[in-house]
Structures are given as C-alpha cells and as structure tokens.
Symmetry: C2
Subunit: 342 residues, 2 copies
DNA sequence: TGTTAGCACTCGGGAGTGTTGAGTGCTAAA
DNA sequence: TTTAGCACTCAACACTCCCGAGTGCTAACA
C-alpha cells in the first residue's frame, strides 16, 4: 500500500509528464506548491516508486516517467472527476442543433466533436448491425440485367447492393417477390435473413414464382452484404501532433490499421457497458502498446447501440478525456433515444 | 533545342534519380552502357543543362537532380510507352472476376489495384453525380416522426437521408406523394430535382395532398443531399514509403487534405478527357508542389464518368504509371459500358 | 527516525573539429 | 572537341568535449 506522500508524488509526476511529455526530475516535483519536501526526499520516494513498478527511467541520469502500472494506478485511484468547461459543453450541444440530420451524420459529428475537444483521434462505431431488424426491402432495376437491392433497417440504416437479374425477367414477378419478402421479413434481425430465406421464404417463393432458382440466388446475394457496423473517425491526424508519433514508419503502421474497418471495429468493441480504459499492453494489440484507448458505449433503452472511443498516447489527459467521453456518450444516448422512440 | 547528347544525358539523369532518389553525379552517368563519354564531358553538358533549367543542384558539391522543367521535358519527349508486364495485366484482370459485385465496389477495387501496382497513392472519383438521373425515389418511415428518403440513380448509386415527418401524417398521403414523384421525376438529372420540385411538382402536390407545406419542406430536405461524387482511395499510406515524405509534419498536412473529400474531388477533376500529367507547381496547389498527379478519365459511350489518378512524388516512375493508368482506365470504361448497356 | 544538504557520478545532447568522399569547375593537353 | 588532371566545395559522419539535469549515496541535522 502506498503512503499518502507517495500518492502525492506519483500524481505530481504523472500530471507533469502528461502535460510536458518529458521525464520529470525530483527538483521540479519539489517546486510544486502542494509539495514541500526537498528534492532529496522526493528522490528517495521516487526510487521506492520505481522499485514498486509505478515509475520508469528512460536512462540513468534522466527524470522518471510513469510506467503502464503507474498510469493504471493514477487512473484508478488518483483521478478526481472533473466537470466540463462551458466551452466544452457548448461545443457538444452545438452538435444537436440541426435536429433532423441523418442519424449517421449525428454519429459522425460526435466523432468530430470528440476529436476537436480532446485533440486526440476518436473512433465511433455505429449501431451494431446484428442488433437491427429489417424495416423494408426494395429491388430497383437499373437495366435489363442489373438491379439495386436496398435494405432499410429499423434504425434508419440503409444498405444497398447491385445484383444481377435473371434473363427475361418479368418485372411483375420481381414485384411479387419483393412484396412477399416485405410481408414476411419485416422485423427480422438482419443476421437471420439468410436463415429465414432458406427455411420459410423459399417454400412460398417456389409456389408463386416462376424463375424460382434465379430469384433465390439473387436474394442470397442480396442478404450476403457485409453487415459490419460503420466506423467513423474524427481527427485522424490529431494523434500525429503527439511527440510519440514523430516517426513516419510508426505513422504508416497506424494509418494502415485505420484503413481496416473490420480490425478497428474488433479492437474498439468493448466487452461491457460503460467506460473502459485500456492502457498500453492492456489493449492486447502490439501496435497499441504505448497507446491508451478510452471507450464508452451509447445505448437506447439499455440496448447497446455502439461505442465512442478515444485513441491517444498512454501519456493522455485522462481526466479531460474521461469527462468528455462520459458526458458525450450520455448525451448521445439521450438524443438517439428521442429519435428512435418517436 | 537540345542536342542528341544532351537528351541522352538528361534521360539518364532522370531515370537514375527516379530509381535511386539521390542526386546523380557525372561519373555514374558516364558509367552507363549507352553512354561513353568521360565524366568531364558529362559535367560540361550537365552544366549546360542546368543553365537551361532542366537540372538543379541541391548544393555545390552534389550531383544534379531534375527540375520540374526537366521532368516535364522527360515526360513530353523522352518517354517511350512501355507495355505492361504479364503480372500487371493479370492483376488488373483479376479485378473483373467477380462479375456482379456492386459498381462502386469495382471502382474501389480499381483504386486498390492501381495503388498496389504502382506503390503510390491512387485516387478514384466515382461517376459524377450531376450527370446521373433519378431512377426511383422511396420514403420509408422508421418511426412516427422520422423516415429515410432513398434516391436511386440510373447508375445504380443510392443516396439516403433521414428526414423528419410531419405530425399526424397519413401514411397513404406519403405513398401518394412518392407515387407522384416517381411518375414525374424519373429520368430527371439529380441536380435539377429541386428546380422541378418548386416549379412543376409543387403545383400537383398542392392539388392532391393535404399536408402540403410540410411535405414540400420534407422533399426539399431530401433533395438537398450533398451530391458529391464519391472519392475512393487506394494505398493511402503507400506514399509514406517515399523518402520525400520522411517528415511527420508533411504527412500530417497531406492526410488532412485526404480527409476533405470536396477538396480532393476538386483537385483531381481533370479539365479534359484522356491522360494528363501535372508536375509540381502545375497542380496549382501548394502542398502538392513537389508531387506529381497523373490523371486518366474513364467513360461510357463517350460520356465522362469519373477519373482515376495517381499521386506520387515528382520523382515518379512515369513510364510505368502512365502505362498502367492508361490500360486500367480503358479497361474500366469497357467494363462499365458493358454494365450500363445491358 | 525521518529529512535534507552535499557531493560524486551518469548520461544525453549540443557544439566544435577533423576527415572522408563524392562531386564540381576550370585549365591545359591530346 | 574531348578528356585528364587538379584544386576546390560541401554534406555526412565520427570523434571529442563539455554542460546541465538528474540520480544515488552518505553524513549531518531536527
């Protein structure tokens, strides 16, 4: 168990390193107002803190920097929640001004606000597709042999895919198919569409539709669509301003990761609701070994909708980030609840 | 007018600099097989070429590098078109294997192929929206107060937008509106939708529809959608491998530009058909002052559809890039023509 | 016994210096 | 006209030196 004074010093060092990004020496700690021990005393404590694994030395004659364990302790025990400033609240509120912009736009906007306020990179995952259900399906021919299949979900999300039409298709037949689908699939979760198609629907179609085989393969194609939740970024390049990323090779690796939506949505999907903080190796993903990911979920009526996250260096302004993320996720939940319930 | 020998030397220097990214000295030029003059002779010619503005010296005791004028001359006069290698052709063909994937997927795929083959960054602009016309419009309610408006174009492109519904809306009314729209707007270019709405349609609606005002504002909202052509990237991070981009601040600026679709689509829209090469300041965009942009257009039946471009350093493998871009744009045109005509 | 002053020690980083080698430009000879 | 020869230039690199920020240890002090 750490002593009062050790806590004080640990907090001072982490605070200082977070703002200045440079190893913290005993002298600068002893100069702080809330601390009046001599540098020598501080040094002794620092040495102990290092032994306990909370601090590290980049090299023998430098100051100390927090270890991952140090950050973890700082986050878990030393952080007093901080109210948002007026500006921050105003910034967030402005997002809700345009009341009826598209839901995806709202989410995209959240990502932007988040990155602006924190000056890190934000990642927002849209509503998880596998939770949403079919509202309507539509097949619009665009030529004699191709059509666009459109799926609208209950969350207002639209997916579309170009599919080949069977030759000599009767347009009325197509209409019949669409009607059958809409009658029997409304409210079915997207992930179950293919099941339903092969079990129930195919029988009905067989009965009423001429070009049964072709139709079935067409529909199979339609329901195959990716079904990934959407990934929105805010301030992709913000993180480059951090001295930790002053190396093009690192930037390259990071941005390669950014390109892979699937990887991103796996990495940033949280295990549970609420706010989680993953520091360094806790991410279990080597390229993020000295990054911190803070994730919050947003939800509608207790149903998890998606997540909003911040990606930054382990040397992150935890207090601000947590405050903002917490506030924003709740506000977003409120806003979406309003939307969906109406 | 340059002498035979000067041409030979200029070409040698540009070739060499393109592959090695280092200033070229007289000795290394004289060692080439196709050149047998002594370094001293070469030096004299190089000095002349510098005076003429085709070459530059980074500093007094370094070799020469091509100036923008040098590249321009090289591209215009010294480049022999080169056939694609088998691998390259196979790579491109593989793109067409999945015959009925979405058209946007094909275009996205082109971008990827392009960047893979060239190891630069590729930018592909989708079909220009203002050329496409309305195929069908659909308004799907997702709650009592919100709906998704969906517009399908003749090119198979789908746009959607969430809109607010008037209170106490009669669903039948909505259906009537949609029917009217579909009957009278099919084939109208997207850019003219709003015009048509205020001129012709509004009168019809006024006659048949109860909640006229609310409906009109709803439709206005629907037709307001961005109408930008889509921007696809391939190998965004490829360009970071170029030594020219070994500076995080530069990378930051570049990627900030990448984020702005509108800027990108303005920058990469060509003035005319065919292949254009913009070297350095010819781009008239300061951040691209030492980049080259090679752009080709693809089209269907002579109608310009979009563009495919390569962004790389001025020190670019022009020959390869031109060959690939030329081939790919033609193949893409062919493919799309097939699609649209069916 | 906890705290602090004093001091020797460490080490990264910046400034200064010398050397190397690739390259140039000029001159004079072939 | 071409080329060999030579003096000159300059970036890059290695080397040294020194400074200063910081540490750890010890001994003295409250």
């Amino acid at each position: 168990m750490l002593t009062e004074r050790q806590l004080l010093i640990l907090k001072a060092i982490v605070d200082n390193y977070i703002t200045h990004a440079e190893p913290v020496g005993s002298r600068s700690v002893s100069k702080r107002e809330d601390i009046d021990y001599s540098p020598a005393t501080i040094r002794n404590e620092m040495s102990d803190l290092e032994e306990l694994g909370f601090l590290e030395k980049p090299h023998s004659s430098a100051g100390r920097i927090p270890s991952h364990k140090g950050y973890r302790y700082y986050v878990d025990h030393l952080l007093s929640p901080k109210k948002l400033s007026k500006n921050e609240i105003i910034g967030i509120q402005s997002m809700f001004r345009d009341r009826f912009s598209e839901i995806e736009q709202v989410i995209q906007q959240s990502a932007k606000i988040l990155s602006n306020l924190t000056s890190y990179t934000s990642i927002v995952l849209g509503p998880e597709v596998f939770e949403s259900t079919l509202r309507q399906i539509q097949i619009v021919p665009i030529s004699s042999s191709a059509a666009v299949a459109i799926i609208v979900t209950d969350t207002g999300h639209v997916e579309n895919q170009t599919v080949a039409l069977p030759e000599n298709l009767d347009v009325n037949e197509l209409e019949k198919v669409v009607n059958i689908l809409n009658a029997s699939l409304k409210g079915v979760p997207l992930v179950k569409l293919r099941d339903k198609l092969t079990t129930e629907i195919s029988k009905v179609l067989e009965k009423y539709i001429d070009q049964y085989d072709e139709m079935l393969s067409l529909l199979n194609k339609t329901f195959l669509s990716q079904q990934n939740e959407k990934v929105f970024f805010g301030g992709k390049t913000n993180i480059l301003a951090q001295p930790e990323f002053n190396d093009v090779e690192r930037v390259r690796r990071l941005f390669n990761i950014f390109e892979e939506d699937e990887l991103i949505s796996r990495l940033f999907r949280p295990e549970d609701k609420g706010l989680t903080i993953k520091i360094g190796q806790e991410n279990r993903f080597e390229p993020f070994d000295d990054c911190t990911v803070v994730t919050a979920t947003y939800s509608v009526e207790g149903k998890n909708m998606g997540t909003i996250s911040i990606l930054g260096p382990t040397r992150m302004e935890y207090q601000r980030v947590i405050g903002i993320l917490d506030y924003l996720s709740k506000d977003l939940s409120k806003l979406l609840t309003k939307r969906y319930q109406q």
